[in-house]
């Protein structure tokens, strides 16, 4: 097979907005990533695609008119008291002038990535500015104002595609799950640190979807301090089987980099090698289940300079098939060290973690049990759905439309 065709949806402005001066969510990490990929020779100029603006109504397909109107008001500099009821103006989601346009651009970037893949212009597209999976239809939450993922997924479903959404951010992908909880056109799968310990608190295995969407919401909550092997074992138990049951046409992946052990906002303990193994699986799963059609976004990632550029460089490497140079380019390290005044990493991957992990075997066995239990329940629901969708011989003679 020839080289996979890839697109990197990006323009400089996507790295230049911020929620507040010291906010832990730092779009600036995109600039470090793009520079690392260019300097490392694994991103071609003609692969960089600027986002095309959204069409009218695309945001409104995901968010309520009242909420969008409120975001627009605070973006114009108004500060009404009612904004708080929409989650705007909190410590997590402070408001700033221009917020609406900044985040609408993020949605446009992810929608553009989806469009490129849906049109067959490329096989795989990345929108690393995207991944705002906590935004609710009527409320900002967890650093997220608008849900670019839901906007992008709607692009694909409107084109008639069935979409599997896989969220490997350390936090549960609650906003996206909410948007498609009743849908039989979209499966959401989230692998995350258990809500018992981490925001947003949801993502239990019993959240399986409802109505037409029953069985098409999949949740795998993992223990704090889960390491590479246990993560991948649980992932392999559940995710491939879920995709097989749903039979999607497109895979959309939210690749938050915060499962990494150095992330200050979550407590999973993956290494860059472990994250790379996840990205490689994602590409394989797309090859196997969606004819290669894959859209990958960013998401969380709060070790913004040390970990995030390296993690997403590995993701881009999985997509493009080109290795990340190791050690990382000197020019890149020097440039960002000067600009940010922080120590930049030298190696493409982590040094070995020698810290003791006394709870390892308890964590492994807990995760194993959770993955198996989740699969057992889902298999029953999928079997019921399957039986309903494919009636027995006697029934097909009386009901033709049931088989079409």
């Amino acid at each position: 097979m020839s080289r996979p065709t890839v697109a990197f949806v990006y323009e400089a402005s996507l790295a230049q907005w911020r929620l507040s001066p010291d906010h832990p969510f730092k779009p600036e990490r995109l600039a470090l990533l793009e520079d690392l990929l260019r300097e490392g020779g694994i991103l071609e100029a003609d692969e960089i695609v600027p986002p095309a603006p959204l069409a009218d109504g695309e945001l409104a397909a995901v968010h309520t008119a009242e909420y969008i109107a409120m975001v627009e008001r605070v973006s114009r500099g108004e500060r009404p008291d009612e904004a708080l009821a929409y989650g705007l103006g909190t410590a997590d989601t402070p408001v700033a002038d221009g917020l609406h346009d900044d985040v609408a651009d993020v949605c446009a970037a992810t929608a553009t990535a989806v469009q490129l893949v849906v049109d067959g212009a490329v096989q795989r597209a990345a929108s690393f500015s995207g991944g705002l999976h906590h935004a609710m239809p009527d409320r900002a939450s967890g650093f997220c104002i608008y849900d670019d993922l839901a906007v992008g997924i709607h692009r694909a479903t409107r084109a008639g595609l069935r979409v599997a959404y896989l969220d490997v951010d350390a936090h549960h992908g609650d906003g996206v799950q909410r948007s498609f909880y009743d849908s039989d056109q979209v499966m959401t799968i989230s692998v995350h640190e258990s809500g018992r310990y981490l925001f947003p608190g949801s993502g239990h295995t019993h959240e399986v979807g409802s109505g037409a969407g029953r069985g098409w919401s999949v949740n795998l909550p993992l223990e704090p301090f889960t390491e590479d092997d246990s993560y991948l074992e649980a992932f392999d138990t559940l995710v491939p089987r879920a995709l097989e049951a749903f039979a999607p046409d497109l895979l959309v992946v939210q690749a938050g980099a915060d499962p990494h052990r150095a992330d200050p906002l979550a407590h999973l303990a993956l290494s860059l090698t472990g994250l790379r193994a996840v990205y490689d699986r994602v590409v394989e799963l797309a090859e196997h289940h969606t004819a290669g059609r894959l859209v990958l976004t960013g998401g969380g990632g709060y070790a913004a300079y040390d970990v995030v550029p390296r993690a997403w460089a590995q993701a881009w490497s999985s997509l493009s098939g080109r290795p990340v140079p190791d050690p990382l380019p000197d020019a890149w390290r020097r440039r960002w060290h000067e600009r940010l005044k922080v120590e930049m990493p030298a190696g493409a991957l982590d040094e070995a973690d020698v810290r003791p992990q006394p709870q390892r075997s308890r964590i492994e066995s807990h995760n194993r049990a959770v993955a198996r239990r989740a699969l057992r329940v889902l298999e029953m629901i999928w079997a019921e759905r399957h039986a309903e969708a494919e009636p027995s011989d006697e029934r097909t003679t009386t009901s033709k439309e049931a088989t079409s």
Binding site: T90, Y302, D306
Partner: protein, 214 residues
């Protein structure tokens, strides 16, 4: 949270002369487990699925001499533990446990207005923990002293976070452990503030200084 917020209504009540067999059929059809018995508008007894299922069997708990054709008054339990619509849910939970029963009819001015079951109560208690409400867990331990909860909540408010729920339990005589759910994704500033002011932060893990650089 009060009984009126969580009780089931309207309630399916039966008359005392109703044959037991009919009540069993009703139980299976409606998938209910507790039936208040009402005579002349007044609550006179209650039958549970366990009473009904043991009728005519050799089960040691079966009431001797009662058959399926007999009226339900021969089987019902009386008097009945009842709840009032404005009883707090936590009191009802304690009473259900102490009396070892699964449900209580809710009576207001001698009128049967609903029924509250152990399952209703459990659901209310789960909601009270704040799980599922877009929240982060914060768990701290602190020596018991007057005003300590106020101090804890003030420190959280000062950092701009909203408290979704507070649970407290004593760890021995001198120490209280609080489990809170906060409506915020980033509670690092709160955790270090508490750590610096005499609270032992059990969750989240406090970050080492090296990981704060980025």
């Amino acid at each position: 949270m009060l009984v009126r917020d969580i009780m089931t209504r309207p309630v399916v009540a039966i008359g005392p002369e109703e044959p037991i067999a009919d009540v069993i059929a009703l139980m299976l059809q409606r998938r209910l487990r507790h039936f208040p018995v009402v005579a002349d508008g007044e609550l006179v007894g209650i039958v549970s699925d366990r009473d009904l299922r043991s009728v005519g069997s050799d089960h040691p708990a079966a009431k001797p001499g009662v058959a399926a054709r007999d009226p339900v008054r021969t089987l019902m339990t009386t008097p009945v533990w009842t709840a009032h619509p404005s009883d707090p849910v936590d009191e009802v939970a304690a009473l259900l446990r102490r009396a070892r029963i699964g449900a209580m009819p809710v009576v207001d001015d001698d009128e049967l207005v609903g029924i509250v079951t152990a399952s209703d109560v459990l659901g209310a208690l789960v909601a009270m923990t704040g799980v599922d409400a877009g929240t982060t867990r914060l768990e701290v331990e602190v020596p018991a002293r007057q005003g300590v909860l106020a101090d804890l909540l003030r420190r959280i408010a000062d950092e701009g976070a909203e408290v979704a729920s507070v649970l407290a339990h004593r760890d021995g005589d001198d120490v209280i452990r609080y489990v809170l759910r906060l409506a915020s994704i980033d509670i690092r500033a709160i955790a270090s503030n508490l750590d610096a002011n005499g609270f032992e932060v059990i969750w989240p893990p406090l970050e080492s200084s090296e990981s704060t650089s980025s």
